[in-house]
Structures are given as C-alpha cells and as structure tokens.
C-alpha cells in the first residue's frame, strides 16, 4: 500500500541504522512517547538495529493504559444498566477495573458494542431512541477530533439519548511531568506524530528549550522511527535542544486547524488523572458547559476514585520509562496477555504486551 510499504524497505532501514551507528559517540537514552511506536519498534526489532550506546525507553502514550481505574469502574457500572447500550473501542474491553472488565459485563448480558468510530455510536443512538447510548471517549489529541465531532453531531442533530464518558488526555503535560521527575532517564524524545497531526508542533519548542532535550516529531513506520532516532542522536551529539519535525508529510506546524477549532468548541482543558502518573494539572479535556448535557458523568454519576489493591505489577514505573517490562518478576510468568495483571500487558500498545509478543523467545533464551 502506498505511503506504508516504502517505509518498510529493508535497504532503507539498513542505511538508516548505519547512519545512526556512525553518528553515535556516547550513550543516550531516548523515549518514544507513543505506544504505537513502542509496538512498531518491537514488531520490527528496530531496537536491535541500534548501537549499544542507544537505549530506548517506552513512554506513557497508550490511552488504554493510562485511563484511570475509576473510569473503568464507572464504565462497568453504566454498561451493566439494562437501559444502556455501551459503545467502546475494542481494546478497552479487557482493561481491568476494581471489579472486573467490560468483557465480563458483556458475558453477563450487558449490551456492549465495539465500534470503529465514535460517529458509529451516534448512529446507534439514532437507531435506538428508547435506549441510552454511552460512548467511552478515551484517547489522546489524535482521537479528540472524532470525539468532538460525535458530540457536535449529537447536539446539533438533537440525538438526546447519546452521551460520552470522557477520559481524554494530552501529551505535552505528560512529557513535562516525566522530565520534572527526579529519577528521569530521558535525554531526548520521539514525539507522537499523529498527536502532532492534530495539534501541530508549537508545544514542543518550549519543552525542548526548558528541559534541554531534543524533541523529534516522528511517524510510525520503520523508516520514520529510525529517521527520528537519527535526528534525535544528531541533535544530542551536537547539544541542540530544539523541536524537529521529521513527519512533515502528515504534520503541519499549526496542526489541523478545522479539527482544533471543533475540539476547542466542544472541550476545555482540565486536570486529569493518569494511571501510573497520578493527577496532572491541565493534562486532559472535559466537555464545555454548553455540552454538559452530553456528559455521561452528569447522567449516571461521577467516576469516583477507588482504593487500588496492592499488586506486584510495576506498570506505573513502566509508563514513566523508569523500568523495563523485563524487570517485572511477573512478566511472562504470572502475567501474560491471556492473564494480564496490569494495563501495560492488556493493551497491544502497552510495553509489556509488546515485549511479550515480540520478545518472548529472547527472554527465554537469556534466562
């Protein structure tokens, strides 16, 4: 497929790997923010093409992983109501809350439907006027335009039985939180390309300057990721702390203005809790007052923080890039994708699942 296959070309990948090795003179630790990139790095074995000096650590960029338990519990409660059709992206169904997961609610008769788009959930509401249709609106900036469009359509077209359970988070505040932590190892960032497609590049220059880290806006295919790492290494070696856009075919400096305009009409910036990182100020989106009638938390009660049971799971440290999945005693033993103990094993974009799926054999050979 055009705009995919050519970015997986083996010769181009080898050429970039050679250039990274030639550019590297010292050890560097680089974080890829986005779980989609983590998945691609493991799937294509890109980390194994890098010189020994380069360490990739994996960031919190997996919305499935960082959705707080309180929202999962609220989703379970709403989805179990007989009057409700609960719509969600498929990857949220196995995320554990305090009392099970959405798949369990579905098995007990809850009407839970996996949708491809939030707009499909609006159509389900239109087709079922006697039922309450709730969409689990999780995601980063990339998903915000579709969620905003669903809210806008429901409101302007009078679809009154539709609401959104919103857990929308923003990437730049999480980067700042990671960089402010005393135990941070991150010296350079690969920023999430599709987030920047929406929001543009303006947030990253100030972060790069303030924390003295290069921030390289990077795509998702092997050539994109290696070109991003090369640009990051070159900037680190030359002591340049700037934002660099290596994904210009998708990312304009201003982002997508029509999408940003609608996001801004529907949502306002709010404090949000991130699983693993805690509450980060101004790190998410909430529905504006004009859209509050569409807020599932108003219709069905607010999500409340539950006490989390103690666990051997270290996914919080993994989401902060402080630990690798291989440091978890449960990895591959008590915790597998079939029986996940934590979110980073549930989501296919979580670091634990990516390591398990693509590195299981390596781990066994090394044991």
């Amino acid at each position: 497929m055009k705009h995919v296959d050519e970015y997986r070309d083996a010769e181009a990948v080898a050429r970039l790997a050679g250039a990274i090795a030639a550019a590297t003179t010292r050890p560097w630790t680089i974080m890829e923010i986005c779980g989609g990139q983590t998945h691609a790095i493991m799937r294509f074995g890109l980390d194994q093409l890098l010189p020994r000096e380069i360490t990739l650590v994996h960031g919190p960029g997996c919305p499935v992983c960082v959705t707080p338990e309180a929202y999962i519990d609220k989703a379970l409660e709403i989805a179990a109501m007989p009057s409700v059709i609960f719509c969600s992206f498929g990857d949220m169904l196995r995320v554990p809350g305090a009392r099970g997961d959405l798949l369990g609610v579905k098995a007990r008769g809850g009407d839970i439907r996996i949708v491809y788009s939030p707009l499909d959930a609006v159509e389900i509401a239109r087709a079922n006027p006697g039922r309450e249709v709730v969409f689990f609106a999780v995601g980063f900036e990339t998903t915000a335009p579709a969620n905003a469009m669903a809210a806008h359509k429901a409101r302007s077209e009078g679809v009154k039985n539709f609401s959104l359970l919103v857990s929308q988070v923003l990437v730049p505040p999480a980067m700042e939180a990671l960089l402010s932590a005393p135990d941070t190892r991150v010296q350079g960032f690969l920023a999430a390309g599709h987030v920047c497609t929406i929001m543009g590049t303006e947030a990253y220059g100030p972060i790069a300057a303030r924390y003295r880290v290069p921030v390289v806006i990077t795509g998702f295919e092997p050539v994109d990721i290696l070109a991003g790492i090369l640009a990051c290494v070159q900037a680190l070696e030359e002591d340049r702390h700037e934002a660099i856009n290596m994904y210009a075919r998708m990312v304009r400096p201003e982002g997508n203005l029509p999408a940003r305009t609608l996001i801004d009409e529907v949502f306002e910036i709010a404090d949000r809790e991130w699983r693993g990182l805690g509450v980060l100020p101004s790190s998410g989106l909430a529905l504006r007052p004009a859209y509050s009638a569409l807020d599932a938390e108003r219709r069905f009660g607010a999500a409340e923080n539950a006490a989390t049971a103690p666990s051997i799971c270290i996914s919080g440290d993994i989401l902060r890039g402080v630990c690798s999945p291989l440091q978890c005693p449960a990895f591959g033993g008590a915790c597998t994708p079939e029986h996940p103990l934590g979110v980073t094993m549930v989501s296919s974009e979580g670091a634990c699942a990516a390591y398990y799926r693509y590195r299981g054999a390596t781990r066994l050979a090394g044991d």
């Binding site: 497929m1 788009s117 469009m149 599709h194 070109a227």
Partner: protein
C-alpha cells in the same frame, strides 16, 4: 490507539461536518468523514483515524524523506 492509516479518496459527497468520502485502503473501501480535510480531493491520500480523515498527505514532503535517504547512502558509500 493513535493508529492511523493512509488511504486514497475515490469520491466525495456532502458538506461541512457531513463531508464524506469513499476511501480505498489497499483494496478495502470505507466511508470516511472528510470534514477536517476540506482541501482533500479525489486522488489525494488522507490519513484516517477512527473513521475521520485527520490530514491530507503532502506528497512533496513524502518524497523528501527518500531524497534524504539517498544522500545518506552516498555519504555511507563514500565512508
């Protein structure tokens, strides 16, 4: 979750928030909302996430990626 896939626009219809298009993803054709890519025309490639096009792919910038790779190759060959 931020997975987005490029596809080629086959046809468009509607306006504003209801601007839709048939988009071909390597043989699979889906109806996609094109409201956020008002500049995209039939034959253009758009980047699609959860049923909504979020960018029109800039072909000139795509070519520059491979032009840069070529020059890397020359440098590598000379070394």
């Amino acid at each position: 979750m931020c997975l987005a896939v490029p596809g080629c626009i086959l046809s468009t219809s509607g306006e504003d928030f209801s601007r839709m298009g048939r988009v071909d993803f390597g043989g699979i054709v889906r109806q996609i909302n094109l409201a956020f890519t008002p500049e995209a025309r039939v034959g253009d490639y758009v980047l699609v996430h959860v049923g909504v096009a979020i960018a029109t792919i800039d072909e000139a910038e795509a070519e520059r990626v491979f032009a840069a790779l070529e020059s890397l190759g020359e440098a590598g060959g000379a070394a």
